[in-house]
């Protein structure tokens, strides 16, 4: 485990995820689809704080977001997986700093999250795949990947500073 989760204020920023999901500001939308704020917050958190903390943060975010949504489709499995995966990437090799890498990681993460939701909604008998699902998947992946270099790099810088000061 890293040390970021011991800093109360860093963890509290996670509260912004459900609030932003509810508010879904209109100017940050593509074709009416908002970005995945969970991915934008979880990516820098896991990169700085390691796989175990990333997985726990993914679980917590997933549980909160599932409570805010209709139906039984869950974001928990993919968010836990992403937290763990990004934590491992952050621990091994050179630290990720380039905007392109952040954007790419966010793109893959959002695509995985969207695909899991699409399949769950489809299996539950609701969403017909070709009609609405692809549109939401593509739009959300695109806007999240575009926002990731802006949002994630700021959080990453700040949290790396905190981690190096405390660690």
């Amino acid at each position: 485990m890293g040390i970021l989760h011991r800093q109360r204020w860093c963890g509290a920023t996670g509260l912004l995820v459900p609030l932003l999901t509810l508010a879904s500001p209109g100017f940050l939308k593509i074709a009416g689809i908002a970005p995945s704020w969970a991915v934008l917050w979880l990516l820098p958190w896991a990169l700085v704080d390691g796989p175990a903390s990333g997985a726990v943060a993914g679980l917590a975010l997933g549980l909160v977001l599932d409570g805010l949504h209709l139906g039984r489709a869950s974001e928990v499995p993919v968010l836990v997986l992403l937290g763990w995966w990004w934590g491992r990437i952050g621990r091994r090799g050179a630290p990720i700093e380039r905007s392109f890498s952040l954007g790419l990681l966010a793109l893959v993460g959002t695509a995985l999250l969207g695909a899991s939701l699409l399949l769950q909604l489809h299996w539950q008998g609701g969403l017909p795949l070709p009609v609405a699902g692809w549109h939401t998947l593509m739009a959300q992946t695109l806007i999240t990947a575009l926002l990731a270099p802006l949002v994630c790099s700021l959080l990453l810088l700040r949290w790396r500073q905190v981690a190096s000061l405390r660690g």
């Binding site: 509810l22 879904s24 009416g32 949504h69 209709l70 539950q124 017909p128 609405a132 699902g133």
Partner: protein, 245 residues
């Protein structure tokens, strides 16, 4: 002799009085045309004093008022008759609620309302917006309520088409336009038909407009289906009314 003849006007004198003849002719013309010249002249002169647009607005508002009163009467009558038929047992109330968060598109189509169980809302209540029904309450907290919009993929609603008197199932697709699934092979529905909640419904208030049939797919199996354009603008609505039970 010459004196007697001199009293009778000569042809020349008659000809000299031509302006009077013309006047007479004009008056005959007025008589034959039922006073056309005078009526037109009067209209032209009095035009500035005609009743203006204000008058027509008064008339329209009076008409609106009488329509409203008539509608309220009919509604009261209708609910009384329904109670006699025991279709709708409890009296319904309307609670206005602000929309505090909205997700009209994306994975889920939902709204959050700023009123909840403390104001008497309960899951399953119908949510109305200007224009018609937009969804039903999925869950409530003490001060908020979550609405499943009719466009959500989990939304299923029994409706009917008033013109053909046929029941159908309105199924959300996750797109702005839900699909109408008919139960019969030949529904006889065409684009432009109004879809409303079923008059036999006990879950929802009856005869609330839902939308308009936009296109009909006759080739669908086992029964034709249609796409419905909802009549209430879900993207723009800021206040809704919840019909409590």
């Amino acid at each position: 002799m010459t004196g007697r003849f001199s009293r009778v006007p000569t042809l020349q004198k008659i000809a000299e009085a031509w302006p009077w003849w013309l006047l007479l002719l004009a008056l005959v013309g007025v008589r034959l045309s039922k006073g056309a010249f005078f009526a037109d002249g009067y209209a032209l002169l009095s035009r500035p004093f005609w009743p203006g647009s204000a008058q027509s607005e008064w008339l329209r508002s009076a008409q609106l008022l009488s329509d409203k009163a008539q509608l309220a009467d009919l509604e009261r009558d209708n609910s009384r008759l329904r109670q006699m038929l025991q279709l709708q047992r409890s009296s319904a109330g309307l609670v206005s609620a602000a929309v505090i968060a909205r997700q009209p598109s994306g994975w889920w189509q939902q709204l959050e309302l700023g009123k909840g169980a403390l104001d008497g809302l309960s899951p399953g209540d119908a949510v109305l917006a200007p224009g018609g029904l937009i969804g039903r309450l999925e869950s409530v907290t003490p001060t908020t309520a979550r609405v499943t919009l009719l466009t959500d993929a989990s939304s299923r609603l029994g409706v009917w088409v008033g013109r053909t008197r046929q029941h159908a199932l309105l199924v959300g697709l996750g797109t702005p336009r839900p699909r109408l699934q008919f139960l019969e092979k030949d529904p006889g529905v065409r684009p432009g038909d109004v879809v409303s909640t079923s008059p036999a419904s006990t879950l929802l208030p009856p005869n609330i407009p839902v939308g308009v049939v936009q296109s009909v797919n006759e080739q669908a199996v086992p029964a034709p289906d249609a796409l419905v354009q909802l009549s209430a603008p879900v993207d723009a609505v800021d206040w809704v009314q919840v019909r409590t039970r």
